[in-house]
Symmetry: C2
Subunit: 205 residues, 2 copies
């Protein structure tokens, strides 16, 4: 099997999410042009993407929703689920803890500086002081860290996570954090996303 290009990986993840909805709604078959509309790309692109993973679930016409989902899950190695922790349990971090059922990963720990916060939060996720981060990350084989702390602490927390051994960082702070080679980082910055939209629609208005 050929190496899957990065942009194709991104889209396959989105397709996988979309298929979950279809499955819930009892849709059994889906077409490349429907998926294209959902993702905002052409049907060519979808079909090309799917050609990287070997899909033999094209039953007659269209794709079998469940079969395609299985194929993507396997190609992207989404199972067994990897382990994730959330650092920073403010409003955002706390909200993320409850996201579990939507995720293709297990949130197995939450960290915060404030012991107070840890005791007050009601959640099924185990919570710890950030001082125990390295220990817990290693013990539980956590591979991905979600950074949900204020911006001035983001780099520090990222360094802690990397030092503890995670290989992926999802950063919600409005700061670009630096990670070493071999660690994959993704930013989810509300301010930046809004800027992008504003800039995009600015050309022609």
């Amino acid at each position: 099997m050929k190496k899957i290009p990065p942009l194709t990986i991104e889209r396959l993840c989105a397709v996988y999410g979309a298929l979950r909805c279809h499955q819930q709604n009892g849709v059994g078959v889906v077409y490349s042009n429907e998926l294209g509309k959902l993702l905002g790309v052409t049907d060519y692109t979808i079909r090309k993407d799917l050609s990287y993973i070997h899909t033999d679930c094209t039953s007659g016409r269209g794709y079998d929703v469940e079969g395609l989902r299985d194929n993507i899950r396997q190609a992207l190695k989404l199972r067994p689920k990897k382990k994730v922790c959330v650092v920073g349990l403010g409003r955002l971090g706390a909200a993320l803890l409850d996201y579990g059922r939507f995720l293709d990963a297990d949130i197995v720990a939450g960290f915060d500086q404030s012991l107070n916060r840890i005791e007050l939060l009601e959640t099924s996720v185990d919570l710890f002081s950030v001082y125990r981060l390295k220990e817990v990350v290693r013990e539980r084989n956590i591979e991905v860290g979600v950074v949900a702390v204020p911006d001035h602490a983001a780099q520090e927390v990222t360094d802690l996570l990397v030092d503890a051994g995670v290989r992926g960082i999802l950063n919600f702070a409005p700061t670009n954090v630096i990670v070493p080679d071999g660690v994959f980082r993704k930013n989810m910055d509300f301010a930046n996303a809004l800027r992008e939209i504003v800039a995009r629609i600015g050309f022609g208005g």
Copy 2:
């Protein structure tokens, strides 16, 4: 001035955000390789990106932080600030209302289905029932809508916003929403972002 490629726009937005931090920290000059490290790209790429906007703020060596920021702001037409509304005032939506000071846009309205919620929330942003969405969006010239409702309502709310005339959608729901041509949409889906990271680090572990 040449047309700015989409990926360059994205990076310029990120650079702009990074420069804000530098400015706050009193840093006066910045190099292309520093910016590259922050964004996870090469210094070539940064310089090429900057070549699209006419930067005459290369004082000797490095870029003048303030000058570069001004240049990007102008090129991306970030001023005057565009107007934004948030639909859905659950935990996430409510959190976004308070993000104001980080943004290069003005949040001028929030909408929710529950009148109860609207009355209880403490915020300086004007809040309305979602039934008044179209009216308020038009009156206040709102150009961007942030969708922070549960996934089953996301498409409906998006359609409302588009019908009311917004030209940009930032969607936080774990669903891909469809928008017509001429409207720019960006998804910020936690589940999907995590999937991407998991998939990326899966190759080689």
